[in-house]
Subunit: 925 residues, 2 copies
C-alpha cells in the first residue's frame, strides 16, 4: 500500500485536522480545521509535505500514487461543486498554493485560476456576463503562470502590455478593451513559445501538474532559503500544496478576490473587526493590501456578510486563542474563508494584544507571557526604522548596539562634539574608536566603525549608552584625509546624511523615517506577569552610577557585571591610568633588574663586589621615579573609583553589585598615535622615545589570550589592592548612610584555582585592613568568572575557593571555538549563510559545544558546593534558546546590558513556563 499523499476537504468535512501542521502545513491544517468547524471554506485538497520531501528524494519525481490521489480528489470536488475542471459549462478554476509548517509569508509561490484556457474563458464570459473581465483574467493567468511556473521574466509580458497602451494612447490597464486583450493574449502565448520553445499549456491537468512542481520548487528558491536561514527553520521540512476551488469574483473588474485582515489591529489599538473589511490589512504584505475604496462601508453594503464574518473571525480567534490573519473571498454573495493563521505583528502590537486577550478572558497570563517574542521587545526600547520605509542599504556591518538613528556623517570626535552640542544630528564614522573619541561619541546620534567586533570599544561604549552602533563594517573604507568614506564606488562625504540600523547592522544612505519607542501601560502589565513566572534572576551589566540607575528602572535585580576598567575611560581619568601603565612597565622592569643585581651582588667574587654594589645602588636610585609615578597614579585612581562605587552602591540600594577587577590588556589604555603619546609623555615627564618604547613593549600578538584578566592583578597585585580598597571604602561609606550594600568581587580569566587563591589573598587582606581601620564591616562575596574552558573543566577545584561563579560566555565562546569575535567578520557570515554554523555563536549560545562546558562547569561546581550561586554575564541578547538553556543547567541568574533586561526577564519567564509545560518557547507560530 502506498502512503497517503492527498487530504481532501470538501462537503463540510476534512480528512485532516488543525493539529496536522507537520503533514499538511499551516495553511492546509487551518483549512481542514475550518472545514471541520463548519465554517465556509472553498473545497479542495492538500498534497502533503511528505510528498514534497519524497519528490526531492527521488530526483524531482512525484511519489507513486500522488498524482492519482490528486485526480481522485479533484473529481470529488467536481462532483461536490457541480463544476468541471476544464469543462465549458461550469468550469472549475483552482488555485495552487504553497503552505509549509511555519508561515513563510511571500516566500513561496502561488498560482491562481488554473483551468483557464481559450474554451473556459468563454464560459467565464458567459457566467459573469463580462467579456472583458474574462479576457483580463485569462491574460493575467498566462502572465502569472508564465512567470511562476515557466520562469519567464515578468517584464516581457509587462513590456508587451505597455506597447498596447502606448499604441492605444491610454494610461490605465482598465482602459484596454476586450478586443485588444484578445490579441494581447495571442502575443502572450507567443512570448511563452519564444521563451520556452513550447506552446502555452492549455490542458488544465498539465497546468495543475506543472504548478504543483513549481510550488515544490519554490521551497528551494533563494527567497525561501534565505527566509528559513534568518528564521532558523529546518530546510528538510518541505512544503505542502493546497489546491482549491478558486471561485468566481464578485469584484470582477479589479479581480481583487482575496482579502487579508487581522482580527485585531494592534498598531491602532482598536478592534479591527469593527471596520471590516476596511483598511486594516495584513502587515506582511502577503494578502493584497487594501480593498477597493468603495468597500470601506461594507458593513452597510453587505450587512449579512459582515455579521457572518465577524462571527467567524471571533470564533477563529477564540479557537486559536490568538490574533488571526484571515483571508477570505466573497463569491456571488457568499463568504468563503481561504486561510487563517496566527498573525505576525510588531512588538508593541504583540504586547498590547497579549494583555488585552487576558483582560477579555481569552487566554491566561502564562499564555500571554509566552505569546510575546522576547526579541520583539527591542523594538519597544529603541527607535526603529519604519518598516514601511523604502531604504537604500549601502552596506551591512555587525549589529553592535540596537536602535536606529539618522545624521550627517562626520569623521572626527571634535567635529561630532561641536556639531552635536549645537543640536545637529551627526553620526560618527571611524575605522575604530578609542577612549580619545569618547567625547564625540557622547554627542553623536550613532557610531559606525569599519573595524572591530561586538566587543570592540565602539560597540561596548555604545551599548552602555543605549546608543545605536554598527561596528566592523568591513565594506566601509574610511578616508580621513578626504573626510569621506567609500563603499565600492559610492562615496559618502562629510555632511552627507546616513541612517544606521543597529539592530540589523544596516548602513543606509540618507534620512529614513524612524518610529520612536513607546513604553506602554500594557508593557508594564506584562512585565509584572513575567515576574510571577520566572525563576531565573536577571541582573544588568552596568559600569557607572547612571547605568545602574537605568538598569534598576528596567527591573534589574542587581548588577551582574561592573567592568571597573570602563570607569577608566571617563573624562581625564585616562591620564592617571596611562601614567600608571607606562610607569608600571618601567617600575616592574627595574624591580626585576634590581632583584637580579642584588642576587648577583650576593654571589659576586671579591673583585666584582664593588661593581655589583654600585649597580645595585644605581638601580635603587633609578627605581624611585617610576615607583613614585606608579603609586601616585594608583592613589589618584583609588579616589576616582571609590566615588564611582559609592554612586553604584547607592543606586543599587540593597541589590548585589558584582564588580570585576581589571580585565583588559594594558595596551588597550595607551595611545597609539604619536601626537597623543607625545602629549602624554610631556604630562608625565617621560622622554617620548622612552614612552614609545614602553607602548611598544605592551604590544601583544593575541591580546585576547595575553596579559589580561587576573594575570594583571597577579603580576601587579598593587592594582587589585587599589581596586579592592576602593570597593571596601565605598561600601563602608554607603553602609553608614543606612543603605544595604552587597559587593561581590569577581576575579576575571581564572583558569587555575591558584590564580584565584593569589587574588583572593590580596582582596581579603585589603578587606581586613579597611574594616579594621574603619571599625565597620561589610559582608561581601569573592568569586570568579568562568570564561576559559580550563576553568569549566576544573570548576570543582575553583569552587573550593570561589563564593560565586559567573560564566562569561563571550570569552568562553571565543576560547572554546578558537574564534575571535573581533576578527570573525571575514568568515562567520559565510559560515552562517552556508549553514556550517547554525547561528552566530555570539548571538545564540552554542549549546552543543560551549553549552557542554557550562554543563560540566555547573556539575563539577555543584559536586563540591551545591549551593554556590552561579550566574552568566555574557550578552545573551535575550535569546530565548540561550536563556532556557541557562535555566535548564541550573544557573541562578543571567546578566545583560540594561536595555536588554526586559528581554531577558521575559525569556526567563518563558523558560520557566516551558520547563513546567514542556512547551516550546518564544514563538507565536
Amino acid at each position: 500500500m502506498t502512503k497517503k499523499y492527498v487530504y481532501l476537504f470538501a462537503d463540510g468535512k476534512a480528512e485532516g485536522s488543525g493539529t496536522m501542521k507537520d503533514l499538511l502545513g499551516g495553511k492546509g491544517a487551518g483549512l481542514a480545521e475550518m472545514t471541520n468547524a463548519g465554517l465556509p471554506v472553498p473545497q479542495g485538497f492538500t498534497i502533503t509535505t511528505e510528498a514534497c520531501t519524497a519528490y526531492y528524494a527521488s530526483g524531482e519525481k512525484f511519489p507513486e500514487g500522488m498524482w492519482e490521489e490528486a485526480l481522485a480528489a479533484l473529481s470529488t470536488i467536481e462532483t461536490s461543486t457541480g463544476k468541471k475542471f476544464g469543462g465549458t459549462a461550469n468550469p472549475l478554476l483552482v488555485s495552487v498554493r504553497s503552505g509549509a509548517k511555519f508561515s513563510m509569508p511571500g516566500m513561496m509561490d502561488t498560482v491562481l485560476n488554473l483551468g483557464l484556457n481559450d474554451e473556459t474563458r468563454k464560459s467565464l464570459a458567459q457566467l459573469t456576463g463580462n467579456e472583458r473581465f474574462s479576457y483580463d483574467a485569462y491574460r493575467r493567468f498566462i502572465q502569472l503562470f508564465g512567470k511562476i511556473v515557466l520562469g519567464i521574466d515578468a517584464e516581457k509580458f509587462e513590456h508587451k502590455f505597455d506597447e498596447y497602451k502606448k499604441k492605444l494612447g491610454v494610461k490605465l490597464d482598465t482602459e484596454v478593451g476586450a478586443e485588444s486583450l484578445a490579441t494581447l493574449i495571442d502575443d502572450y502565448k507567443a512570448i511563452v513559445k519564444a521563451e520556452t520553445g513550447e506552446d502555452f499549456p492549455t490542458d488544465p491537468l498539465k497546468q495543475l501538474e506543472l504548478s504543483i512542481r513549481a510550488v515544490f520548487a519554490s521551497w528551494n528558491g533563494r527567497r525561501a532559503r534565505d527566509y528559513r536561514r534568518v528564521h532558523k527553520l529546518d530546510d528538510s521540512l518541505g512544503t505542502a500544496v493546497n489546491v482549491s476551488d478558486d471561485g468566481l469574483r464578485q469584484y470582477g473588474r479589479g479581480f481583487r478576490h482575496r482579502r487579508g485582515i487581522h482580527t485585531r489591529c494592534g498598531d491602532r489599538r482598536e478592534s479591527a473587526l469593527r471596520r471590516i473589511p476596511a483598511e486594516c490589512a495584513g502587515e506582511d504584505g502577503s494578502p493584497e493590501s487594501a480593498l477597493p475604496r468603495r468597500s470601506r462601508s461594507s458593513k452597510e453594503e453587505m450587512p449579512a456578510i459582515y455579521d457572518e464574518f465577524v462571527q467567524v473571525a471571533d470564533r477563529l480567534e477564540r479557537h486559536y486563542k490568538d490574533v488571526q490573519d484571515l483571508e477570505f473571498t466573497i463569491e456571488r454573495g457568499k463568504l468563503y474563508m481561504l486561510q487563517t493563521r496566527n498573525a505576525k505583528r510588531t512588538g508593541a502590537s504583540a504586547v498590547r494584544v497579549a494583555v488585552e486577550m487576558v483582560e477579555e478572558g481569552v487566554i491566561d497570563k502564562a499564555t500571554a507571557v509566552q505569546r510575546v517574542e522576547p526579541a520583539q521587545l527591542d523594538q519597544l526600547l529603541h527607535p526603529m526604522i519604519d518598516p514601511k520605509a523604502d531604504v537604500n542599504v549601502l552596506a551591512v556591518g555587525l549589529p553592535a548596539s540596537p536602535g536606529a538613528a539618522s545624521g550627517a556623517a562626520v569623521f572626527d570626535p571634535d567635529t561630532a562634539e561641536e556639531l552635536g552640542k549645537k543640536g545637529e544630528k551627526v553620526i560618527l564614522v571611524r575605522t575604530e574608536t578609542s577612549p580619545e573619541d569618547f567625547h564625540g561619541m557622547v554627542e553623536a546620534q550613532a557610531i559606525l566603525t569599519s573595524r572591530g567586533g561586538m566587543t570592540s570599544h565602539a560597540a561596548v561604549v555604545a551599548r552602555g549608552m543605549g546608543k545605536c552602533c554598527v561596528a566592523g563594517c568591513g565594506d566601509v573604507v574610511v578616508d580621513y584625509a578626504n573626510q569621506q568614506f567609500k563603499v565600492g564606488e559610492t562615496v559618502v562625504r562629510k555632511g552627507d546624511w546616513i541612517t544606521l540600523d543597529g539592530s540589523t547592522g544596516r548602513v543606509i544612505i540618507g534620512k529614513v523615517p524612524l518610529i520612536e519607542p513607546e513604553i506602554s501601560g500594557h508593557f508594564r502589565t506584562l512585565m509584572t506577569w513575567v515576574d510571577e513566572f520566572r525563576k531565573l534572576g536577571v541582573r544588568a551589566n552596568a559600569d557607572t552610577p547612571h547605568d545602574a540607575t537605568v538598569a534598576r528602572g528596567f527591573g534589574a535585580e542587581g548588577i551582574g557585571l561592573c567592568r571597573t576598567e570602563h570607569m577608566f575611560f571617563e573624562g581625564d581619568r585616562i591620564d592617571s591610568v596611562r601614567r600608571m601603565i607606562l610607569s608600571s612597565t618601567e617600575y616592574k622592569s627595574l624591580e626585576k633588574q634590581l632583584e637580579v643585581a642584588r642576587a648577583e651582588a650576593e654571589k659576586a667574587s671579591n673583585d666584582r663586589k664593588a661593581a655589583s654594589g654600585i649597580r645595585v645602588q644605581d638601580l635603587e636610585a633609578k627605581i624611585k621615579r617610576p615607583s613614585e609615578l606608579y603609586h601616585g597614579a594608583l592613589a589618584s585612581l583609588l579616589e576616582l573609583q571609590r566615588e564611582d562605587f559609592v554612586g553604584i552602591f547607592r543606586a543599587m540600594n540593597g541589590f548585589p553589585v558584582t564588580i570585576r577587577t581589571l580585565d583588559p590588556p594594558l595596551h588597550e589604555f595607551v595611545p597609539h598615535d604619536d601626537k597623543t603619546l607625545e602629549d602624554l609623555a610631556a604630562k608625565i615627564d617621560m622622554p617620548v622615545k622612552e614612552a614609545k618604547a614602553r607602548v611598544e613593549q605592551l604590544h601583544e600578538f593575541n591580546p585576547m589570550l595575553g596579559h589580561r584578566g587576573c594575570r594583571l592583578g597577579i603580576v601587579y597585585p598593587e592594582i587589585t589592592e587599589m581596586q579592592a580598597r576602593a570597593i571596601f571604602e565605598a561600601a563602608v561609606k554607603v553602609k553608614r548612610e543606612g543603605i544595604v550594600v552587597k559587593p561581590e568581587i569577581m576575579i576575571p580569566l581564572v583558569g587555575n584555582v591558584n590564580e584565584l587563591k593569589a587574588q583572593a589573598d590580596v582582596v581579603r587582606r585589603v578587606a581586613g585592613e579597611v574594616f579594621d581601620r574603619e571599625k565597620e564591616t561589610v559582608d561581601y562575596l569573592l568569586g570568579t568568572m568562568i570564561e576559559l574552558p580550563r576553568a569549566a573543566l576544573t570548576a570543582n577545584r575553583i569552587a573550593e575557593v570561589a563564593e560565586f561563579f559567573s560564566f562569561g560566555t563571550n570569552d568562553l565562546t571565543q576560547t572554546a571555538m578558537g574564534l575571535s569575535r573581533d576578527d570573525s567578520g571575514r568568515f562567520l557570515p559565510f559560515y552562517v549563510e552556508n549553514k556550517i554554523f547554525p547561528d552566530d555563536p555570539f548571538q545564540t549560545l552554542d549549546q552543543e559545544g560551549v553549552g557542554q562546558l557550562l554543563d560540566i562547569g555547573v556539575q563539577k561546581c555543584r559536586s563540591v558546593r551545591a549551593d554556590l550561586k552561579i550566574g552568566i554575564c555574557g550578552e545573551i541578547r535575550g535569546d530565548p534558546e540561550s536563556v532556557i538553556f541557562c535555566h535548564k543547567v541550573g544557573l541562578n541568574y543571567v546578566s545583560c546590558s540594561p536595555y536588554r533586561v526586559p528581554i531577558a526577564l521575559l525569556a526567563a519567564a518563558q523558560a520557566a513556563l516551558a520547563d513546567k509545560t514542556g512547551a516550546s518557547v518564544g514563538t507565536t507560530a
Copy 2:
C-alpha cells in the same frame, strides 16, 4: 606516645633501612642500608623529614621529644665509639648534613666538625700531634659555622685572614703558622660577636642545636627552592638531618677528609674504579673535586684500603644496580663510607652506563631503558655548553630550539648571509624574524629574537633546521639603527661575540667552550631495546624532503605533521604566495560585490534596470585581472607543492605522511615593511596604495583565533583544491615509481563537523578527478586536527566524518587556557616561579585541564569509531609525563620535530614499561 623522630645507625646495625627514603632522606636511607650491609660506615643518627615538616608547622620549634631522642642517640654513639661530645680526652666531632628524599646536590647546608672549642682543639692537637692542624681545623670550623649557621658574610673572615697573610708577607694559607692562627681565631670570635651580638657558642650541644636549625632552614633557602622548582620537586617534603661521627683526618694538612667518586666514570668510558681514588671526581661538584696530587697512586700507597674500597664499591653498585656516587673517608688507616647515592651523569654517560650494565648482567634491558632520562638525549643530539665553563649570562629568553652556538652578533639577514658564506660564525639578532630573513637564518649559527614565543617564525624555522634559537628574550632591546642591542646597561655591538644556549634560553656574553654531540654505538644499542618495549608510535613533524630524510634517520615511523605552509617560505615561492593572497582579497571582494549587484539587477525596477546592468558588466570586467592573478599564482604553487610532496613521499617510502592543509592566517605571508611591499606591488602590477590597503585588510586583532585553519579553505576552497591536487598528483607519480605512498590529509582547526564535511567534499572531489584522469588510485585517509576545545567536546560528531584524529596540543593548550604562547612571556615565568602553574603548559602537558579534553576527545571518538587512529602532533618535547599520558589515554602515536624523535621513542618505551610495572618513569633517583 610521641612520634619517633630519630633513627640510629651504630654498631653495625641501623634502625632504618634503604627503603625509607621518604622518612630518612636519600642520604639517611643510604647510610642505614650500608650499615645493615655491614659496610664500614661512621656511626650516627638521622633526624627524620617529619621532624622538619613538624618544625615548620609549629613556627620553627623542634617537635616534642626530638631533641631528647637526639641526645639519647648521641649518647649511644659516644658509648659505641668511646669518644665524648665536648670531651677533652677523646673528643667526638660530628658533622650535620642535610639529606632530602631527592638528591639536591649543593643546594642545602652542611656543617662539619661540631664539637670543636678551645678545649677540644687542644685534644685534637694531642691526638694528631699537629698543633697547627688543630688551630686550622678550629679556624675553619668557626668560619663555616659563622657562615652557615649564623649567617655571617664569609668574606669578613677571609678578609681578616688576608690581613694576616699581608702582615706576614706570605701568599698561601699553609704559610700561616700555629701562633698566628691562634690569634686569628680570637679575631674570628670577635667578628662573630660584632656581627651577631653574641659570643661564638663553644657549647657543643648549642652548636648541634643551632646546626640542626640551620639545616632545616636551608630547606627553604633560595637555592633549594630554585632547585626544586627546576626539578619539579615538592616543597612540602622537608629534609632529614644526618648527624654522624666526623672522625679525624689522615690527610690532616689539607683537611681533605671526604672524597667523592663515581663507581663508573661515564665521560671517559672506562671504569673509574681502576684509578681509585683518583681524578675522576663527582660531576656535580658537591664532593670536593680533586684529591691531593700525591694520592693519585693510592693503589700503590694503600693497597689494602684500595682493595677494600673496590669491593665495597662493587657491592654497592650491584646492590643498587646503578652507578654510585660514593663519599668516603680514611681515618687512621681505616675506610669509612660516608654516602652512597645513584650518580647523576650526562646523557652520553647515562646511555653508556645503561648499556654496559646490561652487558655485564647487572641490569636487564627494561631497566636500562628506564634508566636514561629522555630529556638527557637532547645533549647527544645537539652541541651543548661545557658545564664546566664559567659563563656570563646576560639575559634569559625562551629555549626555542635546543643546542648551543657562539658567533658574532649581526643584525640583518644580508650581513648574516654574507659573513656566514665566508665561513664566519655569526648569530642573527632580530626583534622578530619573518620569511624575508630566511636566507640569513640559514647561514647563521643561531638566532636570537626579542619578541615572539615558542611558535614564532624564528622558533619554528630554527627547530626545523635543528639550529639553536633563543626567542622572545624581552630584556634584549634591539637597536637596528646603531647595529647593537642592549640589556640593561650592557651594550652588544655588531661583531661582538655572544653565545646562545637554546636548551635553557641563556644569552651569554663572549665565546664559550662547547661540547659537540656524539652518536655512539651505545646509543644505537639502547634505541633498539627501546623499540622492543614501546607501544606508542612515534612520527616526526617534517615539512621538506630534507626534514623527512632526517626524521627517518632518527627512527620516525612516518610524518605526523607536514605543514604545507612552510613550503611557502622557501626561495622565491613566497612571491607566488603573496600574489595569490593580495589578489585573492580583491578577487573575493569583487566576487561578493558582483553577487550583490546581480541580485540587485534581478530585483531592479524598470528605471533602475539599465544602471544595474552596467554595474554588473563593470564588475565582471574588473574581476578579470585579480582572478587571473589569483588563479595564476595558485597554478604556480601547485607545481611547487607537487614536487615537494614527491620528495617527501619518496623519503618516507611506505610510511604514512600526514599533510596538513594551509593553517596560518594569510597576513603572516605578506610583507609589513614598506620597501618589500613596494617591490611586491611592482612585481604583481598592483598600485602600492592598493597593495597596502589589502595588507591592512588582512590585519587581525587576534590572528590565533582569526581567519586561519580550515576557515581559509572554506572561504577559499580553491586553495584546498590546489593543495589536494598537488598531493594526489604527487602520490600517483611516486606510486608509479614502485614506492608505497600513504598520504593522510589533515584539515586544521576544525571545531564543528560541518567544517570538516565542507573540506572533505573538496578533497574527495579532487581525488576523484585526479584518479580518473590518471587512471590510477592511491589509498588515502582524510582526518582532522583536534586542537580546539569544541572539537574535543564534539569528537563523536567529528568522528562520523574523520578517518583519523591528531591532537594539536599547542593550540589546544592555548585555547583551553586562554593563553597565547607568543605573549605569555610577560607572566608565565612569574606563574611558574610562584607555583601558580606547576609547569609551563607548553613544555609539559597540562593534564588536569588540557588532559581532560584529550581524554574526552578520545572517549567520545571511540564511542563512535573504536578503531579510529589518533595521534598527537604538538611538541611534547619528549616530556615523559606527557608521553605517558598519551600512552594512557590510548593514543596511537605522537609526532614531534625530527631532532626529538629519539627522545619521544625513549619516553614511549618508558611509558609502556611503567604501564606494565606500575613503576615511575624517567627518573633515575
